[in-house]
Symmetry: C2
Subunit: 103 residues, 2 copies
Protein backbone atom coordinates (compact mmCIF):
# COMPACT_ATOMS: atom_id res chain seq x y z
CA UNK A 1 0.00 0.00 0.00
CA UNK A 2 1.37 3.32 -1.11
CA UNK A 3 1.59 6.01 1.49
CA UNK A 4 0.33 8.90 -0.61
CA UNK A 5 -2.93 10.50 -1.63
CA UNK A 6 -3.18 9.39 -5.22
CA UNK A 7 -2.68 5.66 -5.32
CA UNK A 8 -3.77 2.98 -2.89
CA UNK A 9 -7.31 1.88 -2.24
CA UNK A 10 -7.11 2.51 1.47
CA UNK A 11 -5.90 6.08 1.10
CA UNK A 12 -8.60 6.70 -1.49
CA UNK A 13 -11.31 5.55 0.89
CA UNK A 14 -9.90 7.58 3.75
CA UNK A 15 -9.86 10.73 1.66
CA UNK A 16 -13.47 10.24 0.62
CA UNK A 17 -14.55 9.52 4.16
CA UNK A 18 -12.71 12.62 5.30
CA UNK A 19 -14.23 14.71 2.51
CA UNK A 20 -17.72 13.58 3.50
CA UNK A 21 -17.02 14.53 7.10
CA UNK A 22 -15.75 17.97 6.12
CA UNK A 23 -18.83 18.60 3.96
CA UNK A 24 -21.03 17.86 6.95
CA UNK A 25 -19.25 20.16 9.38
CA UNK A 26 -18.55 22.90 6.82
CA UNK A 27 -22.15 24.14 6.93
CA UNK A 28 -22.30 27.15 9.21
CA UNK A 29 -25.53 26.07 10.91
CA UNK A 30 -24.28 22.56 11.58
CA UNK A 31 -21.07 24.05 12.90
CA UNK A 32 -23.07 26.19 15.33
CA UNK A 33 -25.08 23.17 16.39
CA UNK A 34 -21.90 21.19 17.08
CA UNK A 35 -20.55 24.07 19.14
CA UNK A 36 -23.69 24.12 21.26
CA UNK A 37 -23.56 20.37 21.75
CA UNK A 38 -19.91 20.53 22.78
CA UNK A 39 -21.21 22.24 25.93
CA UNK A 40 -23.49 19.29 26.62
CA UNK A 41 -26.58 17.40 25.60
CA UNK A 42 -29.54 19.46 24.32
CA UNK A 43 -33.07 18.91 23.08
CA UNK A 44 -34.01 20.27 19.65
CA UNK A 45 -35.87 23.31 20.94
CA UNK A 46 -32.82 24.30 22.96
CA UNK A 47 -30.82 24.23 19.77
CA UNK A 48 -32.99 26.08 17.27
CA UNK A 49 -34.10 28.75 19.74
CA UNK A 50 -30.65 30.20 20.58
CA UNK A 51 -29.49 29.84 16.98
CA UNK A 52 -32.60 31.49 15.53
CA UNK A 53 -33.25 28.57 13.19
CA UNK A 54 -36.64 27.17 12.22
CA UNK A 55 -37.57 23.92 13.85
CA UNK A 56 -37.71 21.93 10.63
CA UNK A 57 -34.41 23.29 9.40
CA UNK A 58 -32.76 22.37 12.70
CA UNK A 59 -34.29 18.92 12.48
CA UNK A 60 -32.98 18.56 8.95
CA UNK A 61 -29.42 19.48 9.94
CA UNK A 62 -29.57 17.24 12.99
CA UNK A 63 -30.53 14.38 10.73
CA UNK A 64 -27.50 15.10 8.57
CA UNK A 65 -25.27 15.10 11.65
CA UNK A 66 -26.88 11.92 12.88
CA UNK A 67 -26.59 10.16 9.52
CA UNK A 68 -22.91 11.07 9.56
CA UNK A 69 -22.59 9.52 13.01
CA UNK A 70 -21.45 12.77 14.57
CA UNK A 71 -24.28 12.99 17.08
CA UNK A 72 -26.30 10.51 19.12
CA UNK A 73 -29.85 10.85 20.38
CA UNK A 74 -31.86 9.95 23.43
CA UNK A 75 -35.62 10.28 23.71
CA UNK A 76 -37.02 11.62 26.97
CA UNK A 77 -40.79 11.86 26.77
CA UNK A 78 -41.74 14.44 24.16
CA UNK A 79 -38.16 15.59 23.88
CA UNK A 80 -35.27 14.20 21.89
CA UNK A 81 -31.86 15.04 23.27
CA UNK A 82 -28.86 15.28 21.00
CA UNK A 83 -25.24 14.88 22.02
CA UNK A 84 -21.83 14.67 20.40
CA UNK A 85 -20.65 11.17 19.47
CA UNK A 86 -17.26 11.59 21.11
CA UNK A 87 -15.75 8.35 19.84
CA UNK A 88 -16.61 9.14 16.24
CA UNK A 89 -15.37 12.69 16.57
CA UNK A 90 -12.10 11.52 18.09
CA UNK A 91 -11.61 9.19 15.16
CA UNK A 92 -12.28 11.99 12.66
CA UNK A 93 -9.99 14.36 14.51
CA UNK A 94 -7.28 11.76 14.14
CA UNK A 95 -8.07 11.63 10.42
CA UNK A 96 -7.74 15.41 10.26
CA UNK A 97 -4.32 15.23 11.83
CA UNK A 98 -3.24 12.44 9.55
CA UNK A 99 -4.38 14.11 6.33
CA UNK A 100 -4.02 17.82 7.05
CA UNK A 101 -2.01 18.68 10.13
CA UNK A 102 1.00 16.42 10.16
CA UNK A 103 4.29 17.65 8.70
Amino acid sequence: MKNNCVEGRSEFNKLNEFSDYLKIIADINRLKILCLLKKGERCVCNINEPLGLRQNLTSHHLKALRDAGLVLTRRDGKWVHYRINTEKLNYLNELYNEIISRQ
Copy 2:
Protein backbone atom coordinates in the same frame (compact mmCIF):
# COMPACT_ATOMS: atom_id res chain seq x y z
CA MET B 1 -17.15 38.82 24.99
CA LYS B 2 -18.89 35.53 25.54
CA ASN B 3 -16.82 32.41 25.12
CA ASN B 4 -19.35 30.36 23.24
CA CYS B 5 -20.50 29.75 19.67
CA VAL B 6 -23.72 31.70 19.61
CA GLU B 7 -23.00 35.14 20.95
CA GLY B 8 -19.94 37.32 20.60
CA ARG B 9 -18.81 39.03 17.41
CA SER B 10 -15.37 37.50 17.53
CA GLU B 11 -16.63 33.95 17.87
CA PHE B 12 -19.10 34.58 15.06
CA ASN B 13 -16.34 35.71 12.73
CA LYS B 14 -14.12 32.80 13.68
CA LEU B 15 -16.88 30.30 12.95
CA ASN B 16 -17.52 31.84 9.53
CA GLU B 17 -13.83 31.92 8.72
CA PHE B 18 -13.58 28.30 9.80
CA SER B 19 -16.65 27.32 7.79
CA ASP B 20 -15.18 28.96 4.68
CA TYR B 21 -11.95 27.05 5.19
CA LEU B 22 -13.77 23.75 5.59
CA LYS B 23 -15.79 24.36 2.43
CA ILE B 24 -12.57 24.86 0.51
CA ILE B 25 -10.85 21.71 1.71
CA ALA B 26 -14.02 19.57 1.69
CA ASP B 27 -13.94 19.17 -2.08
CA ILE B 28 -12.38 15.83 -2.93
CA ASN B 29 -10.26 17.19 -5.78
CA ARG B 30 -8.89 20.07 -3.71
CA LEU B 31 -8.17 17.60 -0.93
CA LYS B 32 -6.18 15.46 -3.35
CA ILE B 33 -4.31 18.54 -4.56
CA LEU B 34 -3.42 19.51 -1.01
CA CYS B 35 -2.16 16.00 -0.36
CA LEU B 36 0.10 16.17 -3.38
CA LEU B 37 1.41 19.57 -2.36
CA LYS B 38 2.14 18.33 1.15
CA LYS B 39 4.89 16.27 -0.47
CA GLY B 40 6.39 19.40 -1.98
CA GLU B 41 6.04 22.16 -4.55
CA ARG B 42 4.53 21.18 -7.94
CA CYS B 43 3.70 22.81 -11.23
CA VAL B 44 0.12 22.56 -12.52
CA CYS B 45 0.82 19.81 -15.04
CA ASN B 46 2.34 17.69 -12.29
CA ILE B 47 -0.88 18.07 -10.36
CA ASN B 48 -3.58 17.41 -12.96
CA GLU B 49 -1.71 14.56 -14.63
CA PRO B 50 -1.45 12.19 -11.63
CA LEU B 51 -4.95 13.13 -10.47
CA GLY B 52 -6.51 12.64 -13.90
CA LEU B 53 -8.09 16.09 -13.85
CA ARG B 54 -8.50 18.41 -16.82
CA GLN B 55 -6.14 21.34 -16.91
CA ASN B 56 -8.81 24.00 -16.59
CA LEU B 57 -10.50 22.20 -13.72
CA THR B 58 -7.20 21.92 -11.88
CA SER B 59 -6.54 25.58 -12.52
CA HIS B 60 -9.97 26.44 -11.19
CA HIS B 61 -9.44 24.52 -7.96
CA LEU B 62 -5.95 25.95 -7.55
CA LYS B 63 -7.45 29.42 -7.82
CA ALA B 64 -9.92 28.55 -5.07
CA LEU B 65 -7.08 27.31 -2.87
CA ARG B 66 -5.05 30.41 -3.66
CA ASP B 67 -7.95 32.79 -3.01
CA ALA B 68 -8.37 31.08 0.35
CA GLY B 69 -4.70 31.66 1.07
CA LEU B 70 -3.99 27.95 1.42
CA VAL B 71 -1.40 27.80 -1.33
CA LEU B 72 1.27 30.12 -2.68
CA THR B 73 2.67 30.32 -6.23
CA ARG B 74 5.99 30.91 -7.91
CA ARG B 75 6.42 31.40 -11.64
CA ASP B 76 9.36 29.68 -13.30
CA GLY B 77 9.36 30.35 -17.02
CA LYS B 78 6.28 28.78 -18.58
CA TRP B 79 5.54 26.93 -15.38
CA VAL B 80 3.75 28.05 -12.24
CA HIS B 81 4.66 26.14 -9.13
CA TYR B 82 2.20 25.77 -6.30
CA ARG B 83 3.06 25.07 -2.68
CA ILE B 84 1.28 24.88 0.67
CA ASN B 85 1.07 28.12 2.64
CA THR B 86 2.34 26.57 5.85
CA GLU B 87 1.73 29.58 8.09
CA LYS B 88 -1.87 29.89 7.00
CA LEU B 89 -2.45 26.16 7.36
CA ASN B 90 -0.93 26.17 10.84
CA TYR B 91 -3.30 28.95 11.83
CA LEU B 92 -6.30 27.05 10.48
CA ASN B 93 -5.21 23.85 12.17
CA GLU B 94 -5.15 25.78 15.42
CA LEU B 95 -8.69 26.98 14.62
CA TYR B 96 -9.73 23.38 14.04
CA ASN B 97 -8.39 22.37 17.42
CA GLU B 98 -10.05 25.32 19.11
CA ILE B 99 -13.48 24.76 17.55
CA ILE B 100 -13.66 21.00 17.03
CA SER B 101 -11.00 19.00 18.82
CA ARG B 102 -10.64 20.43 22.28
CA GLN B 103 -12.53 18.91 25.20
